[in-house]
Symmetry: C2
Subunit: 293 residues, 2 copies
């Protein structure tokens, strides 16, 4: 049985292009959350191949995301668009995406549908993310639907497909992945507010500056008086001075917006565990909730 790394390497070698292999070698390998989830459900030849396909899709989506978000770094290293330019990042993303889809054709139609549908959903999520950052969105449902699409859909597809390969109850593992994905994103959004900029590697309150009205802001807005709402709006998409930053952070604390967001993520995480027996999958959920607190 070939290892996950060997299979992924083979996919890249199949492409038979030195330039692709060279750039690919410069992509840091990341947390590999999706493969880890799959292997904690089932580890066999098929699931290793599936995990490699999903990781390739994930890498492709990040390559394009970083172009779209003008991100200069990824995993604390220079992003591919930063090092090689946007065009190379776009082309490499297309190459890896299509290789992943080609390999996916070896799987049952049911699994191929689940994974390819998730890619379609996540690419719509990326667009919604950009569109929602164009104005001060106050609709929580729009936000939650967007992060489900952008962040959770491929995680959900990973655990769902893993359950099918393992012959487990599909819905239990599908819900696990979906809830984990949404909770993960909410914790990320909280960290953007609570972590200091050094730990985070980017300025605090960065999301709000970039137009992203994440869950804590949505809750704080909902709970505030008209005047406070207007003041918060006036700070949207701006570089804030120290006094303004402090005011925003205090608002997010005083309205319990941070705490409520965390509890929302915790509730999702608890629901995720219904029917899940694997201790490792329970640990992964806990580690996500404990990322900073």
């Amino acid at each position: 049985m070939n290892s996950f790394d060997t299979v992924l390497e083979q996919f890249i070698n199949d492409l038979n292009n030195n330039f692709v292999a060279d750039i690919y070698a410069n992509i840091p390998s990341g947390k590999r959350l999706r493969p880890k989830l799959i292997f904690n459900i089932i580890k066999n030849e098929q699931s290793i191949k599936l995990a490699a396909i999903i990781e390739l899709i994930h890498i492709s989506s990040l390559l394009h995301d970083d172009v779209i978000d003008d991100a200069l770094t990824r995993r604390n290293e220079n992003s591919i668009n930063n090092t090689y330019g946007n065009k190379t990042a776009i082309m490499l993303g297309d190459i890896l995406y299509s290789k992943a889809f080609y390999e996916l054709t070896a799987f049952d139609t049911k699994i191929a549908k689940i994974v390819s549908k998730a890619v379609s959903t996540l690419s719509i999520g990326e667009l919604e993310d950009v569109k929602l950052a164009e104005f001060f969105n106050t609709d929580k449902e729009l936000y939650l639907s967007m992060i489900y699409k952008k962040t959770a859909s491929l995680i959900e597809a990973s655990t769902h497909a893993g359950a099918i390969l393992a012959g487990h109850d599909e819905n239990i593992y599908k819900t696990y992945g979906k809830n984990l994905g949404v909770a993960f994103q909410i914790i990320d959004d909280i960290l953007d507010i609570t972590e200091n900029s050094q730990t985070l590697g980017k300025p605090a309150l960065n999301d709000f500056k970039e137009g992203k009205v994440t869950l804590p802001y949505l809750i704080a807005y909902e709970k505030s008086s008209f005047n406070t709402q207007e003041k918060l709006k006036s700070m949207y998409k701006r570089v804030l001075n120290k006094e303004e930053s402090t005011w925003v952070k205090e608002l997010l604390n005083n309205t319990n917006a941070i705490k409520d967001s965390y509890n929302y993520a915790k509730t999702l995480a608890n629901q995720a565990l219904t029917g899940i027996k694997e201790p490792k999958l329970q640990e992964i959920i806990s580690s996500i909730l404990d990322r900073d607190f």
Copy 2:
């Protein structure tokens, strides 16, 4: 039986996103060469769906190509990247690509493999096109292999998959599509030299200025003395004055490079027709060869 347009429209509606539908509506429909080829092999419910999938893939690849080539126009209208920005063009391309792959899962593994493999090949071709424009390439094989990948592979997949759906001889139709695609690109390369800039909608000798050493240049270079080769090289990737343009055009004529390129395309086209009985498929080949002469 739903029409091709209805199926394509349904794919877009499935995505359930107004912004996507709005931008999509602004993409001119183009020549629809690939659907036309498929329908001249077989027209039924399955082949209409396949043609819509392949057209969606083609549209996605053009969306990304135009970003990569900084193209401001497409089919004589503003390109999507020009109107909506590069980021939207990238995202829309990803959305349409993944929708196409999702729909492809409804087909036999064999067809899904052929089409997805072609997408992988064409995205490698796009990268090779960019890399080959970084230096004065004198290797004809590299050039021909690149245009096969970039232009012919999806056309080849269209006629190949069409033949499978029709129960025809696969190799005959595969060769037809492949040769047609390569011939099409060579004629395009010739037109960049022989057409006047008004008809073409871009300056003549534009390819050479952008670093693309196409077949006529490769042949002229091969047939020239060292001094002429050096002079040609000195004009590479430059805006040429009238005298220089004339010199290049005369070189391409005097070495028979245009004529040889045309004959190369014609030979491919003749080979393409071996075993092809459909008069319409013969006509399409002729119309490509006669595009300008």
